[in-house]
Structure formats: structure tokens, C-alpha cells
């Protein structure tokens, strides 16, 4: 469980980093065809989804690195 929390923390930090470099600061939020409400939505949805992607990546990578024979055997029998 501890490692799961660590993974999540790393994923959150990574996502925040990605969000920061992705924000088009200079243009502000006054785009054509857009509104502040839309932008708040973009940020919330964008954060959740990219957090998911980052977490899924870390989880898969950690599993790939730390796997043991028994673990994959279980899948083997299951799938």
C-alpha cells in the first residue's frame, strides 16, 4: 500500500509539471471562441485524465520491473 501511495504522489507531481509546461500563459484565458468556464473544465478534466495516464504508466512500469514468476503465472492461468 505504501508503494501505491508513493506512485500516486510521483504521478501527481509529474502531472503538475506537465500542466505547468502546457499552460499557454501569455495568451491568458481570453481565447476566441472560449470562456473561463470552459477553461476551468479543461483544467479539471485534463488533470484527471493525465493523472490517470501517468499513474497507469508508473504502475505498469513498476510491475514490469518488480514482477515475480508467481504473479505472471496467475495471469497465465486466468487469461
Amino acid at each position: 500500500m505504501k508503494s501505491k501511495r508513493q506512485t500516486l504522489i510521483i504521478a501527481v507531481l509529474l502531472t503538475i509539471f506537465f500542466m505547468v509546461v502546457s499552460t499557454p500563459w501569455e495568451f491568458g484565458l481570453s481565447y476566441f471562441g472560449d470562456s473561463t468556464v470552459a477553461w476551468v473544465l479543461y483544467y479539471i478534466i485534463g488533470f484527471i485524465i493525465s493523472l490517470y495516464v501517468t499513474y497507469a504508466f508508473l504502475r505498469a512500469l513498476i510491475m514490469l520491473v518488480n514482477h515475480t514468476c508467481e504473479q505472471f503465472k496467475e495471469i497465465n492461468n486466468g487469461l
Binding site: F27, G33, I49, V53, R59
Partner: protein, 324 residues
């Protein structure tokens, strides 16, 4: 890792992909739907000289311009980006240049094109200096490179294709590129300094500083000289950018070569042929679309009526006569 957990994780991944597809579709539909704040420019609604920008898009693709130039930044990085070329250089420069893309137009020839556009009722600055002030890109190009060979091949666009391309560039100029390319905020002197350095390093001479190719005033040049009419004509042919299209060595550039032209029998598109006497040459300079030579395009050459004096026409004819 137990199997049930992994199965759930995989299902979740596929669900998220589904959600993303939804977001993608919503954003895409919104992108191409007009709103109050944002109306996409349409090629069919934009015309130049009666030709639509849609036709221009087709011409642009037909010549595969994108695999040398870039447009909205996409393309081959081998030649200028064309997205904003209309705002930079304006229609008269573009018309002059596209007629003979192997050579940069001189001020004189841009002026001639401007007058013709004005006579057709285009809404443009009334004289060449005002035009060059409005379209600073045209000013710079004329001042720096006027009359000099360009790197672009002579693609021999027809008159309609040229108008179509200009219409297309009017359209691309209206595209909201969200601040790209970034505005230049560097000081003029810094830019000029760097530009000079680069020019020196590669031996580029600007038209305005080169003695052999004056950029303005056709008249005073001819008045001062005491050379033979043919030599004056040769000089004129350069200034008026005749040589951008007509070679002196027999090769076909955009128009027929001057070499051996005088006295020859010229085949026309009508199937007839005409003897290239003085009268024919005069007519070809002043009303170039009266007779179109076989295998060449109508409407590409501008009329020089009103742009050249009677003596200058004679000098040009003498020059052509001299090229046997």
C-alpha cells in the same frame, strides 16, 4: 498482482480511451463550427480579380508549393512561409513576381502591375510609393532584391493561376494562427546589423546599393546617357524586368526569347503566324495580349502602355533587333 485487479485495470484503460475519443470529437466539432466570436474564413467567399481562393488552393496543391515553402508552418522549410505573404507584399508585388518567379520584380514592374490593378478597380494605394509604404514586405523586397535572380524555378503560371494564388493568399492571411509566427520585437538597428553581417558573409549585394541596377526612375537614366539606342534598350530591358521572362540567348524562360526574334515568323495560338517586324514588337510591348505566341500563356505579361515613353519603346526595339 492478481488477475482480477489486472483485468479491471485493463477495462478502465479502455474506458478512458473511450472518454478521450468523446472529448476529441466534441473539441473537433466545436473547432469547425462558427461562433459569434469566431468565423472561419471560407475560400469560396474570397476572390481576387474574379477568381476564388478555392481555385487558388487547388493551384497551390497542383504545383506542390508545400514541398518547398511552408504554409501555416507546415511544409519543407526550403523557402519562405506563405501564410502572411499577402499582408507583407500585397497583390501588385505578387502579380509581378508570380509572372516570372525566377526573378525578383523591380519597382518599375510592381508599379506597372499596380496601375493595372487600379484600372480594374482594385482598392489599393493610388501610387507606388504609398503602396510600398503600406506593404512593407514589397518595399524591402524591391529595395533589396529587385531585378535579381530568385531561387524559385520559373513555373510559368497562367494569368488565372496567378490571380487564384493571390486570392488564396488573401484567404490564408485571414486565418487566425493564434499568434504564430511570434511578433518580432527586436530593435530595427539590431536586425539591420545582423542582416548586414549575414549578407557580407555570403556576398549578397542589395539592389539599392548596387550601382548597376537602379531601383527607381526609368526616365532620368535614359536621359543622361549618350550610348547607342540598342545599349540603352538593353539597360531598359533589365530595369523593366523584361529579361526576367525573355532571354537573350535563345532559351525559353517564361516568354519567348529575344534572340533572333526580329524578322522571324512567329507562330500564334490562333494557328496563323505573324512577321516580327517593328510594328509587331511595338504592339507586343504595349498590348501584349493582342497576339499570343504559340505555347505561351495569355494575360501573363502586363501592358507597358503609359509606363514607357515612345523613345524607350524604340530603344527596346533596337535592342531586340541587335540580338540576332
Amino acid at each position: 498482482m492478481d488477475f482480477e485487479k489486472e483485468k479491471k485495470a485493463r477495462k478502465l484503460a479502455i474506458w478512458v480511451i473511450g472518454i478521450m475519443t468523446g472529448i476529441w470529437i466534441i473539441l473537433s466539432v466545436f473547432s469547425f463550427t462558427d461562433t459569434k466570436e469566431r468565423v472561419r474564413p471560407r475560400t469560396e467567399n474570397i476572390h481576387f480579380n474574379g477568381v476564388s481562393a478555392l481555385k487558388g488552393k487547388q493551384v497551390f496543391q497542383a504545383y506542390n508549393c508545400m514541398d518547398c515553402h511552408t504554409i501555416v508552418g507546415n511544409g519543407a522549410y526550403f523557402a519562405p512561409d506563405l501564410t502572411k505573404i499577402y499582408e507583407q507584399a500585397g497583390p501588385a508585388w505578387l502579380k509581378a513576381y508570380l509572372g516570372s518567379p525566377g526573378t525578383y520584380p523591380t519597382k518599375t514592374i510592381v508599379d506597372i502591375q499596380l496601375k493595372q490593378l487600379l484600372s480594374k478597380g482594385e482598392d489599393l494605394p493610388k501610387d507606388i510609393d504609398a503602396y510600398l509604404e503600406k506593404y512593407s514586405g514589397a518595399h524591402d523586397r524591391v529595395e533589396h532584391r529587385g531585378g535579381v535572380d530568385a531561387l524559385m524555378p520559373n513555373l510559368q503560371f497562367s494569368a488565372e493561376e496567378i490571380d487564384a494564388l493571390i486570392a488564396y493568399f488573401i484567404y490564408t492571411g485571414k486565418i487566425n494562427t493564434a499568434g504564430w509566427p511570434p511578433k518580432v520585437i527586436a530593435d530595427k538597428s539590431v536586425i539591420e546589423d545582423q542582416a548586414r553581417k549575414l549578407e557580407e558573409a555570403s556576398g549578397i549585394i542589395r539592389t539599392s546599393s548596387a550601382s548597376s541596377a537602379p531601383s527607381s526612375g526609368v526616365e532620368n537614366n535614359t536621359a543622361q546617357t549618350t550610348e547607342s539606342p540598342a545599349a540603352i534598350g538593353a539597360n531598359l530591358a533589365k530595369q523593366l524586368a523584361c529579361t526576367a521572362c525573355h532571354s537573350a540567348d535563345g532559351s525559353a524562360v517564361v516568354g519567348p526569347s529575344f534572340k533572333g526574334l526580329f524578322g522571324s515568323s512567329v507562330p500564334l495560338t490562333t494557328g496563323n503566324s505573324v512577321n516580327a517586324d517593328e510594328e509587331y514588337l511595338r504592339r507586343s510591348i504595349l498590348q501584349p495580349n493582342a497576339d499570343i505566341v504559340k505555347d505561351y500563356q495569355q494575360g501573363v505579361m502586363p501592358s507597358f502602355e503609359g509606363s514607357v515613353s515612345e523613345e524607350q519603346v524604340n530603344a527596346l526595339i533596337e535592342y531586340i533587333k541587335s540580338l540576332k
